[in-house]
């Protein structure tokens, strides 16, 4: 392992920020998944126990968390496809910045479709 100064102040442009975002969202989704498999496992305890656990997903605070999670998944996935294209498509590296903006535009479109419905389910009269 390198044990020497790594501290040059590198401030990249879009490429660096999208890399940071890929890390942060990846870690976030991973820790959600650890908890999520545990809450799903309660289904083998009893129907009552599972309904109580999954019922917490309906609370509006959780609803906002779910919106954040979905946003993290969508941005990680679209930027992931961009990374795949950068590596495997001959012109990928040339268009990496354009593709980042396309990924962001697609993210906005998907969230515009998702959010109203999800927030209505979360806050709508139940």
């Amino acid at each position: 392992m390198p044990d020497r100064p790594g501290g040059t102040l590198y401030r990249g442009r879009e490429g660096m920020w999208s890399w940071v975002a890929q890390r942060v969202t990846g870690v976030l989704i991973f820790f959600f998944l650890l908890v999520h498999v545990l809450d799903t496992a309660v289904i083998n305890v009893s129907p009552e126990a599972y309904n109580a656990i999954i019922g917490t997903y309906r609370h509006w605070i959780m609803g906002l968390g779910e919106a954040g999670l979905v946003a993290a998944v969508v941005i990680h996935a679209f930027n992931g496809v961009r990374l795949i294209l950068v590596d495997f498509w001959a012109k990928g590296a040339k268009y990496q910045r354009v593709m980042l903006y396309i990924a962001l535009a697609l993210f906005v479109v998907v969230m515009a479709g998702f959010l109203p419905r999800h927030l209505m389910n979360t806050f709508g009269g139940h």
């Binding site: 870690v27 991973f30 083998n44 309904n51 999800h118 389910n121």
Partner: protein, 148 residues
């Protein structure tokens, strides 16, 4: 170790690691990512966007899905691919930030422990699931369960 190499030092070839592990990991991150996109978007769409979204999810809803091998295979693949992809991603991140050998060892130990527990548990849950458990209140069960 001094902070920088002696500039006059002759070039010394690094010993090769004699394995393509990192290359396979790199390919796997991309291949699994492409498959996960379909699996997870499908999962989120069915569970959050159909019916009344989160308000539709309960025991009977999951029992209805896991009554078909289709959704069992879907969830199993999603579980395994997401856990391997995420664990490999976290392994890279630990390698990047934990510079002490001991810290790295401990963090990776915890990571692999979490991986094993979650994958084994999640797999067992799918295979041992009983949509019509005996003695459960009938109104919580899916409609296809035989009347008690």
């Amino acid at each position: 170790m001094s902070a920088v190499d002696n500039p006059r030092a002759p070039y010394v070839r690094q010993k090769t690691t004699r394995s393509n592990y990192e290359l396979y990991g790199w390919v796997f991150m991309r291949a699994s990512g492409a498959v996960l996109l379909v699996l997870i978007f499908g999962h989120l769409f069915i569970n959050l966007m159909t019916g009344e979204g989160v308000h539709s999810i309960d025991f009977a809803f999951v029992a209805g899905k896991w009554a078909t091998p289709f959704w069992k295979v879907w969830d199993l693949l999603m579980l395994w691919l997401a856990m391997i992809h995420g664990t490999n991603g976290l392994r890279t991140i630990i390698n990047d930030y934990a510079s002490k050998d001991r810290t790295r060892l401990v963090l990776k130990g915890l990571l692999y422990l979490a991986f094993t527990v979650v994958v084994v548990l999640g797999t067992l849950v799918i295979f041992t699931f009983d949509p019509c458990p005996a003695g459960a209140a009938a109104d919580l069960l899916p409609s296809f369960c035989p009347a008690p």
